[in-house]
């Protein structure tokens, strides 16, 4: 549908360069609410990616048929449908994981990454590129959830994926699995991401200046 270079660029950009959580700072509810264990992060990431890919495909395919005035309502209907399907599927396949975060699965509907990608990308790009964009953004979101979940679970419960990582003498930092822990970890990681981006920018500028001075 499009040249492979463009496809790859749309696929990759969501993972680090335009990471929805750490760079765009969109859809911040799940990264705060469900990341007290790695497993929750993985399941939420996969469910969100599924909804993102399906609704982006649908919206991109129908983009010329949806009248401009009702586009947002139509997007919401499409997104809510896929969230409900994901909810049922999860309930049927992974009842334990669904049990852990039932309310948050339904709340994927209001995750603004999904509506954001629909409005900013899928509604004005062909299906192939929209799928690439959705997969990239979904992967970036999943990685962010897993990263936050790892820090919080390891420090807050002393486990990783439920397996103990420290000796029995480890005293868990209970605050990490509580809501404030989410804010703390997210804040530190945002700082880290912004710092790395800034350092890279400076390095690039310095390189350019050297190039020019020579």
């Amino acid at each position: 549908m499009a040249e492979p270079g463009r496809f790859r660029a749309e696929l990759v950009k969501g993972i680090v360069a335009e990471n929805p959580t750490f760079v765009q700072v969109l859809g911040m509810c799940p990264p705060l609410a469900i990341t007290n264990s790695v497993l929750n992060g993985v399941v939420m990431g996969i469910a969100t990616t599924f909804v993102l890919v399906m609704s982006s495909t649908m919206i991109s395919a129908l983009r010329k048929l949806i009248p401009n005035q009702v586009r947002i309502s139509t997007y919401i209907v499409v997104i809510a449908t896929f969230v409900t399907v994901a909810d049922f599927t999860l309930q049927a396949t992974l009842p334990a994981a669904h049990h852990e975060m039932a309310a948050f699965i339904a709340l994927i509907v209001v995750n603004c990454i999904i509506l954001g990608r629909a409005e900013a990308f899928a509604s004005r790009n062909p299906v192939g590129l929209s799928i690439a964009d959705a997969i990239g953004m979904g992967t970036g979101f999943t990685l962010a959830l897993v990263l936050i979940g790892t820090v919080r679970e390891v420090l807050g419960s002393g486990t990783f994926f439920g397996m103990p990582v420290f000796g029995p003498s480890f005293e868990p930092w209970v605050i990490m699995v509580l809501p404030p822990g989410g804010f703390l970890v997210l804040g530190v990681l945002l700082l880290l991401f912004a710092g790395i981006a800034e350092m890279r920018k400076r390095a690039a500028e310095r390189a350019r200046a050297q190039e020019a001075g020579r």
């Binding site: 949806i66 419960s157 005293e171 209970v174 509580l178 809501p179």
Partner: protein, 243 residues
């Protein structure tokens, strides 16, 4: 968009778009529901059965019994969900005990649990949580902490169960989970209420002597490892995690 129709035609198009979207969406949801329902039902039934056998150790077979106002009838009658118990039988047909489902307010949301009672109704045989949204890492210890769950094996319900901080010695005492006092309290309250409701309803155990109070088989204090109760300065009174 290109036909430049009148205002009426344009709104009709908007309405039509949303109608079609709603219809297709409704159809998709119904299909997904129909398709996943058997698996979801099977999971729920399996989870309930697992829970019944978990709280009635030694039971091999279970039967649902419905309270009809004067006695326990077979499951044929149907009855409301809160008004039935499960009888567990061992392989030789002897009654192991009664599994009593119960629910009540927890810290975040309703806690649904099920606990086993001896045929006499004097002691619990086990307890497991069916559904809860307690704070992960704290309140969820009401089912993830083996020590707390273990306390509900052989716990006397006759003077009602008491929640204490520290190490309970009496057969009706349960240690509160540090950092999850409200959730622990909720579990104890739910079990107490359901036990008080169901004990008079249980049929008198046939051959067995009903005076089981003196024969303390397994004191819960026997299974208290010293280090589990974390003595740190964790906020004891408030389990934190507002939502």
């Amino acid at each position: 968009m290109s036909d430049g129709a009148s205002a009426g035609g344009e709104s009709l198009r908007l309405v039509a778009t949303l109608t079609v979207a709603g219809l297709v969406s409704g159809l998709a949801i119904v299909l997904a529901y129909r398709w996943t329902l058997p698996a979801i039902r099977a999971h729920q039934a399996a989870a309930l059965e697992r829970a019944v056998f978990e709280v009635l150790p030694g039971a091999e077979r279970m039967e649902r019994r419905v309270w009809d106002g004067s006695g326990l009838a077979g499951a044929g009658a149907g009855g409301a969900a809160g008004e039935s118990v499960f009888a567990g039988y061992a392989a030789d047909g002897a009654l192991v005990g009664w599994a009593v489902p119960a629910a009540g307010a927890g810290f975040q949301d309703t806690i649904k649990l099920i606990f086993g009672l001896e045929p006499s109704g004097a002691r619990t045989l086990g307890m497991t949580v069916l559904e809860s949204r307690e704070t992960p890492g704290l309140g969820d210890k009401i089912y993830k902490d083996p020590k707390f769950v273990g306390e509900f094996r052989g716990l006397a319900v006759a003077p009602e169960i008491k929640l204490i901080k520290g190490h309970g010695e009496a057969p009706n005492e349960v240690d509160a989970i540090t950092g999850a006092t409200i959730s622990s309290k909720a579990v104890v309250r739910i079990v107490n209420q359901a036990a008080a409701l169901w004990r008079p309803r249980l049929p008198a155990p046939g051959a067995e002597p009903s005076a089981a109070a003196g024969t303390a088989a397994a004191a819960p204090a026997a299974q208290v490892p010293p280090d589990v109760e974390r003595g740190g300065p964790v906020p004891g009174g408030k389990p934190g995690g507002r939502s």
